[in-house]
Symmetry: C2
């Protein structure tokens, strides 16, 4: 489980009140990157008002956040975090006022609110705060004087009145948290893609757009899902039973992909997608004397530097009382990981540290995969027939991941996509 | 009296508590227009910390406000005012975080606060709100965790939590209001000029920088004073006895001009300066039948369109029972003023409306001028000797203004500057 999903599990505790017939829409930065696009979004919001009040969450316009970060980094390599969060919050502050202005120009009664104004309370942590409270009464009061409430994503406020930001996936998380607080059934995530595919359509030509997918599958899709919606927001949606609809801002007539909404859906097909991740490296620390807490020592040392590890496995040599501990990290963390492991090697009396950058993860994802051994068998047979060597394997309830040579990853994904007939809609 | 000074008179009511040895500094937009300049400002603040805690008020960086206004005007000719105020507030929000970040990078314990965070409460009016309350306790609490508090100028918050802006002279007003709330003796206004001169140094070559000047004189200097500090802020400073020091950000070693601070100062010389204003036009409505409330009708009709009138005078023809009413307005308001007066002419049965754009106001300003008829005599003699025709005259306690042909205004100012020997420091 990635760090961000773990955090999300304890994010926000809410009551059970409901604003009736409210729509919650979230638009990302590319959807509001110019005045022309803001007008397009305003028209979508106005259209939706026919069905009741609308709560819109927006990100900062286009590259605004990058521009602000650049300013900050001209001042200091590691700018003061309280000030940086306050600075970054202006990006969303600008976009909400412009969208609300546009809505008013289209004769919609709209009001913008920052997280501070609305009261999106977070813990007192900068750059990656978790939402802890949104008062239903504040939300109801904010809607008293308007039909469309435009809320700044990505930002929060502490009990002390300091401005925080939510970190990666922040605006998605804001939207889901508000949908949950308002008791809304759906949260529409408008983005610049059509929805979630069975695999990367740039690589697998016959990748198919999914109509529906479960919360768990999206999270297991890791990067492939996270490009569309952040796992943290998905977890929060699952926790509060908010149904997500991922839709293309520029094709509003399309239904997109629905995430969540009914247990029956989760088992209607065994395999939903194939994901490829080429930005990892494999690291191993060899012949570690077998003592309790060794894995914990490694994970803690890396966590201190904010390095997230994945696919950790420990293989035991029963004869020598020695362990090999192997895991994957993001390629960008490899150099720092090596340094830390070399230190630990001496401390632990291990033999050596090995690294392999020539890897990619190919994952088969499906909510109905658990307890069906034929799926794993078909997976390994397919790769074996194609002479693709598997370097590592891990599996969870909804995912089997194989590490293969990086150059063979796309081929492996294509073979699996065909073998499991993912281009065809499932029989229901 | 201009509209803004009239407003300022009722701005803010405060208690009598004091943060000991606090400095209040205000920096305008040109002083923080780049990261390099922000660093310069941070160094000035750090230097000042040697004498105690520092409260810094900053404007938006350089052209930021214009940029935001341009965005808003791409959306609507008259954008929603609530949203526009919220949008514009991001300009100062950005500059306070960057300055505070820079201070932290220089190892100063600094914190930025928006008007919302600090609690600079205003009336519920957009684009020109007046400050109604700043709680001393909020200010004291904000200083508990820092040595330098960086506060956003120009913005406020209503009791309902809406963001407002203070209008013209907003950041100056914020600084003075905070100095008053903190019980500070001085408020330093850092700008891009050296201080206040006896006349415009671009026109009058031997114009002299004033060491000291009274509140009233600065206000009477109108545009000449307002280019340096807004009359509204001066009035607020007078009301709370805050001594202003106008100083050049780029020559911090210079003392600049001190405004206020001791009644003795106000009479140490009769005449302090000569101001020229070429952006006015003269308008007259002729032969208005003499009825009570006619001037009021004219002023009210113009006020409805936000047209500020100046130098109003009413000359009575005792034989015919008819009045001529003459006044000056800003040149930019002339066309609209004419339209309104033509309507009033018909309604009132007046004879005609006349306008003269070829005018300029030349004003002699001095706190010690009242009750000294020789000053007016010298003024008229000087202009008469130079064959400069005077079209209109008004006078107040501290100012005599003559309207002359626009092409003769600079010459008139130069003659007066020499005649009153303003290039020489006063004997004290």
């Amino acid at each position: 489980m990635s760090r961000s999903t773990k955090e999300a599990l304890s994010e926000l505790e809410l009551g059970k009140q409901t604003l009736s017939e409210i729509s919650v829409l979230k638009f990302g930065g590319t959807s509001v990157k110019s005045i022309a696009r803001i007008q397009h979004v305003a028209e979508l919001v106005k259209e939706r008002l026919k069905t009741g009040k609308v709560l819109v969450v927006v990100s900062a316009m286009g590259d605004t956040t990058d521009y602000l970060l650049k300013l900050a980094h001209q001042i200091a390599k590691t700018p003061n975090q309280r000030e940086l969060d306050s600075l970054l919050s202006t990006g969303e502050h600008i976009s909400i006022t412009l969208l609300s202005m546009m809505l008013n120009a289209l004769d919609v009664s709209a009001r913008s609110v920052t997280a501070y104004q609305l009261g999106i309370f977070t813990e007192n942590v900068h750059s990656k705060a978790r939402i802890v409270d949104i008062q239903f009464d504040n939300l109801a009061r904010a809607f008293e004087n308007c039909d469309a409430l435009v809320v700044a994503g990505f930002q929060g406020v502490t009990a002390n009145g300091d401005i925080t930001t939510l970190g990666r996936g922040g605006s998605d998380t804001t939207a889901v948290a508000l949908a949950a607080a308002a008791g809304a059934q759906y949260c529409d995530i408008f983005t610049d893609v059509d929805g979630i595919y069975t695999s990367d359509p740039n690589v697998i030509k016959n990748a198919r757009l999914l109509d529906r997918i479960s919360y768990g599958e999206v999270v297991e899709m890791a990067r492939m899902g996270a490009q569309v919606i952040h796992p943290r927001a998905v977890e929060l949606a699952r926790q509060y039973g908010v149904i997500l609809r991922v839709r293309n801002t520029f094709k509003p007539e399309h239904q997109g992909t629905q995430i969540g909404g009914g247990a029956d859906m989760e088992i209607y097909r065994s395999v939903s997608g194939v994901a490829v991740d080429k930005d990892n490296a494999c690291v191993a620390i060899m012949d570690v004397p077998d003592q309790p807490g060794i894995a914990a020592q490694i994970v803690s040392a890396l966590a201190k530097k904010n390095i997230v590890i994945d696919m950790i496995m420990q293989a035991f040599h029963p004869t020598a009382g020695l362990n090999n501990i192997t895991f994957t990290v993001a390629s960008t963390d490899l150099a720092q990981t090596n340094t830390i492991l070399e230190e630990l090697k001496l401390k632990m009396g291990a033999k050596e540290v090995l690294a392999d950058e020539d890897i990619a993860k190919v994952s088969l994802i499906g909510a109905g995969m658990a307890g069906q051994p034929d799926i794993a068998a078909k997976l390994f047979t397919t790769l074996g027939d194609a002479k693709i060597n598997i370097k590592m394997i891990t599996s969870s309830e909804m995912k089997i991941t194989c590490v293969v040579a990086r150059g063979e990853a796309d081929k492996a994904a294509k073979m699996l996509h065909d073998a499991f007939q993912l281009d065809e809609a499932a029989a229901k």
